[in-house]
């Protein structure tokens, strides 16, 4: 076709052509490694069988080596200490420290791998590779990032309010840790099984507002202040739908204790997400607003106000804000799992697998959903979000609370097996939710057919006259 000499295609094209998929890479692995992998899988299967045998045997229940519920360990430790005649404060303090250590290691561990997970998963959504240079699969990337952040110079704006500038990264971290208190990880495994657990959760989540606001205000920067005001307005608004959604949960289960809520779901084998779909949606959506995640991340909307309330923070202070964001995401995951997804139970699977692993898996699933949303959806505008909360979520949540109150009183007087009323409630709630959402949306003036009017093909070419002709006909 041409007289030009043959030139090779670009190096990038060649690299893409030579890229091997994961399966191809596995097939290329040497025989020894394949054998090792098979051995590993076989060993795992065998050990599972052994565990199953012991569990069926009932030999494990409640012993200190029953790792399905780490609460057993602390229980035995405590009773041993009481038998030994320590001062009553000693077992109290010891178990409290153990629990705090557990929570801190969960949150801290997640801070170490969470950003890797997010970046890696997001990269897969965005047809990229993600971090893959530091360590295997780039696993050490968060550590490298943390070291980098800590080495960075902390720049403090000269006009910043020094005292209030230093406090927020710490203030905002406290609720992110405290919120883990009432979460039940297994039957006996919750740090602070308050009987006002639900209220506690809401109260703790409302504490973060102040840190955000102080961060934005003390930086003395318009972007920070805008971000802070947006975040505060949104957090205050979205606390109401969250409270109403949780109120529905409390009404149906009849308890504010998180472990009781989980036990209720396990008892009736009914996750609340099936019974209260609208509450679950409200909780999830409002939580994304509370913790500043897409599609509601307007508090730190990058394309508008740079980094929102922590624009002026640098080094590890900014790192703390980002860490809190990660920590809050899994905290919401844990809450979502506990309230709506059956917590540490999984239709009887919790007798075989440790409950905390099930909860962790559910948290991971919710976190994956968050990352998915972040990889997919654009961002709302502030007024749209506020309108959504006040005009849409709150009225419908109130209606739902009334409905659930009626259902709960029916359920409390029900004699026959609980399956029938629960199934009826599930169907009724689903149907009513769909109908309510549709009608209310139309009542608010939502009209999809107008919104999706597409451009047309020109029938004439020219200036204003052609435009008018096209508009006229």
């Amino acid at each position: 076709m041409s007289e030009q000499p043959m030139r090779p295609a670009t190096p990038m094209l060649r690299q893409i052509a030579e890229h091997r998929s994961l399966l191809q890479r596995f097939m290329g692995v040497s025989k020894e490694w394949k054998g090792f992998a098979l051995l590993l899988l076989g060993g795992l299967g065998l050990s599972n069988l052994a565990i199953a045998y012991v569990v069926i045997d009932g030999r494990l229940d409640g012993q200190w080596y029953d790792i399905r519920d780490l609460g057993n360990v602390t229980q035995h430790l405590r009773s041993w200490m009481q038998d030994e005649g320590f001062h009553p404060a000693v077992p109290y303090l010891t178990t409290a420290l153990l629990g705090a250590l557990g929570i801190l290691s969960v949150v801290g561990g997640w801070l170490l791998i969470g950003s890797w997970v997010e970046r890696r998963v997001l990269a897969k959504f965005q047809i990229r590779q993600g971090p893959n240079r530091t360590g295997p699969f780039g696993l050490f990337q968060p550590i490298a990032d943390a070291v980098k952040l800590m080495q960075k110079e902390v720049v403090i704006p000269r006009v910043a309010d020094k005292f209030l500038y230093y406090a927020p990264p710490v203030i905002i971290f406290i609720p992110a840790i405290l919120g883990w208190g009432p979460v039940p990880w297994a039957g006996k495994m919750s740090f602070l099984d308050l009987n006002v657990g639900v209220l506690y959760t809401i109260a703790i989540s409302s504490l973060g507002v102040l840190g955000v606001f102080l961060a934005g205000w003390s930086s003395n920067n318009h972007y920070s202040l805008l971000g802070a005001m947006r975040t505060v307005a949104m957090m205050v608004s979205y606390e109401i739908p969250i409270s109403l959604a949780l109120l529905a949960v409390v009404l149906l289960t009849g308890s504010m204790q998180l472990s009781t809520i989980v036990a209720w779901q396990a008892n009736y084998n009914a996750w609340l997400i099936f019974l209260l779909p609208f509450a679950a949606f409200t909780f999830l959506f409002a939580s994304t607003a509370e913790i500043n995640r897409t599609p509601n991340d307007i508090g730190e909307a990058e394309s508008e106000i740079v980094a929102g309330f922590y624009t002026e923070y640098s080094g590890m202070k900014a790192g703390l804000f980002m860490g809190v964001e990660l920590g809050n995401a899994i905290l919401v995951g844990a809450m979502m799992a506990t309230f709506f997804l059956g917590g540490y139970t999984m239709f009887g699977l919790e007798t075989w697998i440790p409950g905390y692993l099930i909860l962790a898996a559910k948290i991971g699933a919710v976190y994956f959903l968050f990352v998915w949303l972040r990889g997919t959806l654009p961002r709302f505008r502030l007024d749209q979000l506020m309108g959504y909360a006040w005009k849409f979520l709150i009225p419908l949540s109130v209606v739902q609370v009334l409905l659930v109150a009626v259902e709960a009183s029916i359920f409390a007087r029900w004699e026959t097996p609980a399956l029938f009323p629960l199934a009826a409630f599930a169907l009724l709630n689903l149907g009513l939710t769909v109908e309510m959402v549709r009608r209310w949306a139309h009542a608010l003036g939502y009209a999809p057919e107008v919104a999706q009017q597409q451009p047309v093909m020109a029938t004439a070419i020219g200036g204003l006259k052609a435009a008018q002709k096209m508009r006229g006909g």
């Binding site: 309010d161 209030l164 009987n195 006002v196 209220l199 809401i202 109260a203 102040l210 606001f213 005001m229």
Partner: protein, 170 residues
């Protein structure tokens, strides 16, 4: 318990004092929240778990945010936390009040009321009891309080609503 009481009361009193001393209104606000939190802790030591958590929710979470908005909606110039000349009479009056309460507290024979019997009827849960009382004996008061809240909400909205006068550009 002793430790908890003294730590929390120290926190509460110190931050309440700092609210008075702080020169910047927002600093004062931050200390006020700290004081509220200490107070919530004190409530918990009185085994009032519901009230303690409600204190965190309402005071530390909501009223402080309201105050933040009030501070933000007024301009920079009015963000100082100065005192008027009334400070000295106020201090005298408050000192008198505090010493009166302290005198009564110390002078009264409370000793009989701290006896060993206290441990027995530790409330395990206050929520159910409070709920029963609110919707039982104090139902009328409860309803009136809800109406009061509603009217306060409406009143606040009406008060700060923008009245656009005729001829004024937006």
């Amino acid at each position: 318990m002793i430790l908890a009481f003294f730590a929390l009361s120290g926190l509460t009193v110190a931050s309440a004092l700092l609210v008075f001393v702080a020169r910047n209104l927002l600093h004062a606000l931050a200390f006020l929240v700290l004081s509220f939190l200490g107070m919530a802790g004190l409530f918990l030591t009185l085994s009032a778990d519901f009230i303690g958590v409600a204190q965190v929710l309402i005071y530390a979470g909501s009223i402080s945010v309201l105050m933040v908005f009030a501070v933000m909606l007024t301009p920079l110039a009015s963000r100082n936390n100065g005192s008027t000349l009334y400070v000295i009479p106020a201090m005298l009056a408050a000192g008198g009040l505090a010493s009166l309460i302290g005198f009564v507290a110390i002078d009264t024979e409370w000793d009989e009321r701290k006896g060993e019997a206290l441990g027995v009827s530790d409330f395990t849960t206050t929520v159910a009891g409070i709920g029963d009382l609110l919707l039982g004996r104090y139902l009328l008061a409860f309803e009136v309080a809800s109406v009061l809240l509603l009217f306060a909400l409406l009143g606040a909205i009406v008060l700060v609503q923008e009245r656009r006068r005729a001829g004024e550009e937006a």
